[in-house]
Amino acid sequence: MPVTQPTVDSLRDRFDNIVESEFRGQTRVVVPRGSAFEAIAFLKEERGFDLLVDLTCIDYLNYRDAEDRFGLAYLLANTSTDERLTVRVMLNEPDLTVVSIVPLYEGANWMEREAWDMFGIVFDGHPDLRRILMPEEFSAHPLRKDYPLQGRGERHNFPVLTRGEA
């Protein structure tokens, strides 16, 4: 079920610069980076959005009409009223820092680690911000659009074992 108007209105009353849009029955609000944590905390505590369905990131490099580089998407759901709401935070280089929402949703822990690993988004206050998919020594953020599909040679950078030595 899409989000109800009172929820969006209450969010509007509480925070400035909320941009609302709708696409195929799904409501999205773009929240300024500075108030992202407070807005999600408000949605959780006062509007009953108790489930973080997903947290992910989109790189809008070379995307038509895009103004911002990264879009962080929080998909929230209210399990008693079935409302669903997408909260987005737009980020631009060089400052890709947002406040971690792990204090609100435990489940955000690995999702934020994934966004850090794949896109290089820094989550301030995350308890354990390490790479989750790529090896620790990996130095790039591979889902960024300016990272080459075939990598920069990392996949070939291993010692060769031969018959003689193994």
Binding site: H156, F158, P159, L161, T162, R163, A166
Partner: protein
């Protein structure tokens, strides 16, 4: 000088005898990382019955195995594990690269997938296909048995023969891209 042999006595070389024992009791180590692993399981299961060729004892400990079957794509995070497992296996040991992914990376020509395990570990047999049918894997095992019988020596000296070394060196000299600025140092 002719020696009369009694009945039921066969003369052979010790090398041939050793190889014969080895080839008929291969213990595979299933390194199944993706969909090919399903066909690997089918190969070991009742319909295709790898036991007919003396290679049914799948063990999940590299210490007990002598045939590593790499079934599936290997990503760069997995490759050090693969190498560690290969090193943990005792000589004499062999390796089958099963499927397009293990042999070449297959369709996964991406930053994280190793483009053929033979760049980093020695491979004896390649099985083409995506995934290969169990019959193909069985054929590879039969071919490997022939190879073991042909090349095998009781002291394992085939593993360091000159031709073997040359073949391995040719593999190692495949173009491997090094970009010093991006390289990640790895020691193990």
């Amino acid at each position: 000088m002719a020696i009369e042999l009694p009945e039921n006595v066969v003369v052979s070389k010790l090398d041939a005898l050793g190889s014969w024992c080895r080839k008929n009791s291969l213990w595979p180590m299933p390194f199944a990382t993706a969909c090919c692993g399903i066909e690997l399981m089918a190969t070991g299961a009742s319909r295709h019955d790898l036991a007919r060729f003396g290679a049914e004892v799948f063990r999940f400990s590299p210490r007990q195995c002598d045939l590593m079957i790499v079934a599936g794509r290997v990503v760069m995070k997995m490759l050090p594990v693969l190498q560690r497992i290969w090193q943990q296996m005792h000589e004499p040991k062999w390796c089958i690269s099963m499927g397009a992914c293990a042999s070449t990376g297959g369709v996964f020509d991406t930053y994280s997938v190793v483009q053929g395990i033979d760049r980093f570990v020695p491979v004896d047999m390649y099985v083409p296909g995506c995934p290969p049918r169990p019959e193909q894997l069985i054929q590879a095992i039969i071919d490997l048995q022939d190879k073991i019988q042909r090349e095998g020596t009781i002291d394992g000296s085939e593993f360091s023969s000159v031709t073997r070394q040359q073949r391995k060196r040719a593999l190692m000299e495949l173009p491997i891209i090094h970009q010093p600025s991006q390289t990640v140092s790895r020691t193990n």
